[in-house]
Structures are given as structure tokens and as C-alpha cells.
Symmetry: C2
Subunit: 339 residues, 2 copies
């Protein structure tokens, strides 16, 4: 469960102590975030469609152990221009045989064509890729949905996003939105009330494990041929400046634990340092028996609201002082294999 | 420079383009955070005392490459009970021969005595370790200093900490503080004005690369014999619940890129998966020629204020939309080797 990490910081000793039998019945502790997730009813879990799931197989590690990562692509309407390019590149088997070329500590791991900057050696791209405009970095949400989503979050989380007006979860994804000023406008010399907008600009945010599209300088927006994943503290300054297209939902450790590159921006200096990508496939294109089945906890569910509250107000026995809040990326959306 | 990571997310192609000669002079771009740091005058840099610097040497990696990490211990008055224990353990060479026993993705890497939970096999601790009370998780700062520190930060950063009242930098460290209510109290039947407090509770925060003290359940506070470092998104829910004692200022990549443990909480299941710790030394106890000399950018300096503003409002050519703010952990304190 790479995205759901509600772990406690216990010493080994405490871990053993907590598991040992006690002569006295202990007072019922408040449930931990993990316990709330484990108790969530089946109806609070949402299947990730096989058509939204990439299976990336890396070369085995130095000990011969297999390495696979699953990437959930964003649903409509988020980042769909790039998502369609990525489906096209995947079905063309374009990523097969490429490599992970960059690992910058506390920032990103990035993959694609290591020779992409050399016109003579670059791997030809398949036909049909779209050029997606910069306007697509931002989508929109209905004000009513945003308000409901904020109401479900702990107080400090909903009112204190240091990077934008609001941050919240919608349809399983962390989003941020702008506050739109609703001043009356002057029409024919008199101020008329203007109906409040029913939708607002909103965009996905760069939390840990989110996957985005490498690009050059504006107006380039990247095609999806070069992708990165966040491996450190959320680089939220990238929000609205680059396309997000999904998140790693399993196997994140195979990417986050790669040796960091010694070159500028964490690029590997020697070709042999790069990790080969054996293949990338859409789960829906795999034989049925090979398709992974994953689910995320519905972010509009009562279980998720309890989970978010417990993340912001840790009441399990390890904790003395609940924070009273949490930033949006400190509330990772729980993911599981479908039971 | 493992803590100062102002990196751009550029494709290889854009990296090359940016470095190429241009026929037309380009308009002067606003400086990036890294450029501001590089231009900071010598007087804005503070030496890290050799007595505050731990040199941790791990076993070489699989390719025989040396691995060293430097840890800056916190200054007075933060966490000093544990810091003194750690100096004592270091001088007793107690950490030598122990190992890194845990690597939990997006959370912590932890080291100490892997047999510490077994009284028969645990390594005996040196005499003289203190038991530090839980009250020491929180320190205090002067209200005037906190106000000045907040004023130097971007607006959204200073007013929007999702985890506490305030977050700011003081003497080179990220801190959070509580808002104290200043209501008049009733004395002898009448409300009397109460002079505002001159100091407030404050505590260090769990940003990436911060080092803390593993512990069991309350009232245990840990001795410092078991330490962890944050390798993922800031787990700020640990603030005030566990002791922070320092931060990794160089060599962080040797810890953050370790393979994740497959056991509960990321503990390694097989002893051979643990990374041996060859030695831990105070830099001040090394021969003068072997002592590393590091500096941090004074967080009260004009350079730091410009750097923090640029982190929150990226104006370098890669960016289209400045965020307008940043959380405290998205403004890592710049560290460098002393020139």
C-alpha cells in the first residue's frame, strides 16, 4: 500500500510491547487513520478502471528482484490531452527499452528517451500525439462540489493552504482552487448584483507520488514522452506550471529508492547508471489473469472524512498532541488491492 | 548541497537550450532561488560549529563507493537534553558497528541497535544518559522575535500553516508556534488588562532531512540511541510528539535512497539488508584536516528573505504562475561547504 502510509514512529521495542498481551484490559484507544481505513465498508472503495492503470516494468534490481510500478492515470477532465498521448505512446510500446534518466533527491525521478535531445539519436515518436495548450494545466470544478469537499476536511486543512486559496479532494484526487472575487460590476451607471460563478479554476497538486509531464520552456507543454514522479516533499510551486497526469499507486519504492544522479538536476552521468524500462502497458491491454485490480477510498465517503480527521488529529496511543490540521499532501488517498 | 534544492524541472532538451548561446540578448529574468543564494554575501552565511556536526560513515555501497552523511545538531535551547545524550553516545563510540534497520517509504529511515529490544542481546548503553521529560518537546521563543521572523516570510507562508498557529525560521531552523489567547482575566470582580506574554511555546518541525529520536510509548521520550531521518513529505503530525535533534546537511542521498524494508513499518526482515554504520564522530573530535566546514544561510538575513520570496513566487523563466506562497518545508534552509 504505497500511498496509504499511516505509520507510527515506534521503536522496535515499543512495537513489540504494543503487540504483547496485557493482564488488564486497556482503555479503548481512538482509532488510528489506518484502522479507520481498514474498517471502511466495501461500498466506500472505488475500483480503478483497468484503462486508467499503467503497468511499468523496470529491469530487475541488482539482486534479480522484479520491479513493477502501477500508475493510475487521471480521470476526466484533468490532464486529458496528455493522458491520451500517454495511452497512445503506451500502445505504440514507445516507452519499452527507454530508461530512468534522472533522480534528484527530495524532488523527482524522471524517465523517457535519454537521447531525446539529440535529433540524430532520438527515438522517433509515434504519429498522432497532440500538442496540448498551457491552458490545460488548469481545469475547473463546480463551486458547490468544492464547498462540499472543503466541509469534509479538518478545519485547518480547509482554510490554510499556503499555496492557493483552497485545497481539497474531489473524485479521489487532491486539487487546489483559486478564490474568485465576486465584486458587483457597474452596468449602465448602477451597480448590479452579479450571480456568483457556478464553477472555479482548479488544478491537481504535486503531492508525493504524483506523476507529471516533463517539458521545456514555455510554450512547450511536453507530450507525455518524458514523465516524472515526485519523490520528496510536495513541490507545490510546480502546480499550474506543468501537467500532472496521475500517481503511482503501487511500487513507488522502486522509484523513490533509486540512487540519486550526480549530474546537474540529478541526471545520471553514466549511461549504465540508468534503470532500463522493460515495458509499459495499460492494464486493460493485459490478459485478464495478469490485470491488477486496485481501489482507492472514495474521497467523498464518510470513511475518508474520518480518516482525514484522524490524520489531522492523531489520537492513537503514540501521540500526545494532535496537530489540529494537516496539509493536503499529508492526507494521502488510501489505495489497496481489491480484496 | 542536499538541503538546498531549488532545482527546475527541465527536460534534457530544455536544459541544453537554456545553456546555448543566443543571437539576441535575452531580457533579464528574475533571479531564481538558487541564483539569490549564490549571490548572498559572505556575511549572510553562518558557520556550523564543529561541535554541532556529526559525521556518520556507513559501509560503502555495493559498488564500493564511500557513504558519509553530516548531521547538524540543534543549538540551544532546542532539544538539548537529547543532543547531549547523542554527544555522549558518539564520544563513547556507541553507534559504531550498529546499523540502519528501517526504511519506510515517504516517511523515515531509522538507525540504532537492531537487537535493542532483546535484553540478552542489546548493546549496553554508556553511563550518564539523561531521561529527558516530554515537556522538552516544546521550547519557547520571544514574541518579538517570532513577529520579526514572520514579517520576513511571504504572506501566505506566514499566515497559513495548516498544522499550527505560525511557522517561521529562527536562527537557521524551521519552527512552529502556538497562538496564545490574550483575554483579560477577572481579578477581584473587575476585568484587568493583562500584559501580553513576552514569549510563546515553539517547537522545531518535521521537514525533509530533519533528524529525530525514536521512542516507545509515552512517557518514554527516547534516549538518542535510536535516531531517524525524514525521507518523504513532511510528517508534521509528529511535531511536539517526538524529539527533533538536528538535520542532515550533506549526504542525505545515502539515506533517502536506501532500499525500503518489507517488514511492518519498513523494518528490514533480514539482517543482511541492514546497512552497517562504521562510525559516528563529532567533527570537533576529528583531526583538523579531516573536519568538514559547512555553513547555512542566516535565516534573518536579507538574502534569506529574498530567497524565501522567490521560493514562494517563482519568477525564473520556467514558471508561468507564481504560487504566492509556500509551506515552511518548501523553503529548505540553504547549506553549503564553506568556500
Amino acid at each position: 500500500m504505497p500511498v496509504m502510509r499511516q505509520a507510527f514512529l515506534l521503536t522496535l521495542a515499543a512495537l513489540c510491547a504494543a503487540g504483547s498481551a496485557s493482564a488488564q484490559p486497556e482503555p479503548a484507544a481512538a482509532p488510528s487513520p489506518g484502522e479507520i481505513v481498514a474498517a471502511a465498508p466495501v461500498s466506500d472503495w472505488v475500483d480503478i478502471p483497468a484503462g486508467d492503470l499503467l503497468v511499468m516494468t523496470l529491469a530487475p534490481d541488482a539482486k534479480g528482484k522484479a520491479r513493477r510500478a502501477f500508475i493510475q492515470l487521471m480521470p476526466q477532465p484533468l490532464g486529458q490531452g496528455w493522458v491520451e498521448n500517454i495511452r497512445l505512446l503506451t500502445r505504440a510500446r514507445w516507452y519499452d527499452g527507454l530508461s530512468i534518466n534522472r533522480a534528484q533527491d527530495n524532488y523527482v525521478v524522471q524517465w523517457g528517451d535519454a537521447e531525446g535531445d539529440d535529433p540524430k539519436r532520438a527515438k522517433p515518436l509515434p504519429a498522432g500525439l497532440k500538442t496540448v495548450p498551457e491552458s490545460e494545466y488548469v481545469s475547473s470544478v463546480s463551486v458547490a462540489e468544492r464547498q462540499a469537499a472543503l466541509a469534509a476536511l479538518p478545519n485547518r486543512t480547509s482554510r490554510s493552504d499556503p499555496f492557493s486559496g483552497f485545497a481539497f479532494f474531489l473524485n479521489g484526487w487532491p486539487l487546489a482552487a483559486d478564490i474568485i472575487m465576486r465584486t458587483p460590476i457597474s452596468v449602465g451607471g448602477s451597480n448590479r448584483a452579479v450571480p456568483p460563478p457556478t464553477s472555479e479554476p482548479a488544478w491537481p497538486v504535486h503531492c508525493y507520488a504524483m506523476v507529471g509531464v516533463g517539458r521545456g520552456l514555455s510554450p512547450d507543454t511536453g507530450s507525455g514522452a518524458e514523465l516524472y514522479v515526485v519523490i520528496g516533499h510536495a513541490p507545490r510551486h510546480l502546480d499550474r506550471n506543468i501537467a500532472l497526469v496521475g500517481r503511482v499507486v503501487e511500487g513507488m519504492e522502486h522509484l523513490s529508492s533509486l540512487p540519486r544522479g550526480a549530474g546537474a538536476l540529478g541526471f545520471y552521468e553514466e549511461p549504465e547508471e540508468r534503470t532500463p524500462i522493460r515495458s509499459v502497458r495499460l492494464a486493460s491491454d493485459l490478459p485478464a489473469a495478469d490485470q491488477p485490480h486496485l481501489q482507492y477510498l472514495a474521497t467523498g465517503s464518510a470513511s475518508f472524512a474520518r480518516y482525514a480527521d484522524a490524520r489531522a488529529n492523531r489520537r492513537d496511543p503514540f501521540f500526545l498532541v494532535p496537530a489540529g490540521g494537516a496539509d493536503i499532501c499529508n492526507i494521502p488517498v488510501p489505495i489497496r488491492r481489491k480484496p
